[in-house]
């Protein structure tokens, strides 16, 4: 066999030293990917700087942090304005907590069924339906909360108002469930089939395989799914605004109306003059949201790494 004609030329030192199209393409691709990666950091940092700049002066100046965290009196437009955010924090926490109570078991169960037990057409249909659920706009969910859940709750539980923690929690839970299901299912599917085969070959039943092998192997992904759901619930604005009643209140039961941090910002920012104390106080809420989200993600990261090391 004779070597191809140009291979002799390629072997000369000159050819080795010449940068060709592939070399440049590689460099360009590397640069583009670098820019893409760095831009995420730039945007996050940019948002953080912007929100902090608008809110920090007020938060550290006129606003008493003690009042902010301990008072429930959120009266930014009163003649003697007070900025107690406790009720808003409690509103967000109660609605998100209620939503997670509903959606975590529901979506993990759904993901397990789709990934491990459903077969063929059932599986494909369910996947498509769940993905369609994820695409429903939040204002539509809010509408459902207002016009369907509200009268339903009033009738079923015999309470005066149906726009409550229960209502917003249910709506938010249903909203968070599809994305949690999809991510959890991806995590389960990422467990190699060889594990399942090996475990079944050892005589484990399908259920034993799921509990003892598949879930432990995918727990990081499952945890990520749950935390994404929490983040979704925490940051959701429109549906919560519409379904929660938007009343400043420390909730003592699921049938109390509440007001969420996000809904407060959305409802009031348009009326607050730029640079005013009210404006600053809303950005302070923004900082709070940002910090909490950051802490949730950080906690997730630490937990995931901790589990991974063991």
């Amino acid at each position: 066999m004779t070597p191809p004609a140009d291979s002799a030329a390629a072997a000369t030192p000159g050819a080795m030293d010449r940068r060709d199209a592939a070399w440049y393409a590689d460099r360009i691709a590397q640069a583009l990917i670098f820019v893409g990666g760095v831009s995420a950091i730039v945007f996050i940092a940019g948002i953080f700087v912007f929100v902090t700049r608008e809110g920090l002066d007020f938060a550290l100046g006129p606003l008493g942090l003690r009042e902010f965290f301990t008072s429930i009196a959120w009266r930014p437009t009163s003649n003697t304005p007070t900025y107690g955010a406790l009720a808003l924090i409690a509103g967000t926490a109660s609605v998100t907590g209620f939503a997670m109570l509903l959606s975590v078991p529901l979506s993990l169960g759904a993901a397990l069924f789709i990934a491990e037990f459903a077969r063929g057409k059932t599986r494909e249909t369910l996947k498509i339906l769940v993905e369609m659920l994820a695409a429903i706009p939040s204002v539509v969910w809010g509408f459902v909360g207002m016009s369907i859940m509200n009268p339903l709750i009033i009738r079923v539980f015999d309470v005066p108002v149906g726009l409550t923690v229960l209502n917003a929690g249910l709506i938010l839970g249903l909203m968070a469930a599809p994305i949690m299901t999809t991510i959890a299912e991806d995590a389960l599917k990422a467990v190699p089939d060889t594990y399942r085969e090996a475990a079944e070959a050892l005589g484990a039943t399908r259920w034993e395989v799921v509990v003892k092998v598949v879930i432990p192997a995918s727990r990081n992904g499952l945890l990520a799914a749950v935390l994404l759901g929490v983040g979704r619930g925490f940051g959701e604005t429109m549906a919560v605004l519409m379904a929660s009643g938007h009343a400043i209140n420390l909730p003592t039961s699921p049938f109390d109306s509440v007001r969420a941090l996000t809904a407060t910002i959305a409802a009031e920012l348009g009326d607050a003059p730029v640079g005013s104390d009210h404006y600053g106080s809303l950005f302070t809420l923004g900082i709070l949201l940002f910090v909490v989200t950051f802490l949730i993600n950080l906690a997730a990261d630490v937990v995931v790494r901790g589990i991974g090391r063991k």
């Binding site: 077969r119 063929g120 089939d193 060889t194 594990y195 399942r196 085969e197 090996a198 475990a199 079944e200 070959a201 050892l202 005589g203 484990a204 039943t205 034993e208 003892k212 092998v213 432990p216 192997a217």
Partner: protein, 270 residues
Amino acid sequence: MVGAAAGGAAADVSGPRYDEPPVIEVRDLSIAYGGRPALRGVNLDVHRHEIFGIIGPANSGKTSFLRALNRMETFNASMEVRGSVSINGMNIRDWRNEYALRSRIGVVFPLPVGLPLTVYENVAFSPRLRGIRKKAELDEVVERCLTRAALWDEVKDRLDSLGSLLSGGQQQRLTIARALSQEPELLLLDEFSIAVDPVTTMRIEDVLRELRSELTIVMATNLVQQARRLADRTAFFLMGELVEIGVTEDLFEREAKDERTTGYIEGRFG
């Protein structure tokens, strides 16, 4: 096990029991994937304390055959199995509980599949399924199985590290230890040495030779010489067909009945 106690140190005393009824009887076994045949009309018997070798090139149906023995077809919806496989005289498709069947059959896959668990938990997995809870008892099983798989000395200080951190050869011995932890009466090996270095392969082969006195082994291999070294009898599969079964020595030393077998053994094709 009856033979093991009488046999003592001399392994040969407990060789294949051709005088007893076979452990595995395969009758007219055909396997297809979505209508595409992978194995056609296989009839064979495997006897107690026998190492039964299966040789043949890729796509000859070796793996499909092994999968049918412990009903792994439930895993692959397109795998259709016809004919019958009986173990100890009972047709395995009449067993309602395929999990109970599988728990009596140890399987070693071509590439070692360490469950995402520690070395200890990999071996303790099956005993735990059987309901063994006591730590001391589990410790004893784990040590015994790892010792029998010639792995104990290498891993006794790292039982709590992940099984997947072991080297390839160690992982394969771990899967053998895991299969032994089932206390199986039947051990199926599918090209176990494909990802294992030659020295480790020889060690595993020694292990298998010792195990023969306690259980029955069916071993598919793409290494003709491995079948020659280990198997009491060998079957040659080609393109989904059982070409020939014979006492291994006869196939290799004297002329095989079918010239395709001789051709494969001598490396003229495959």
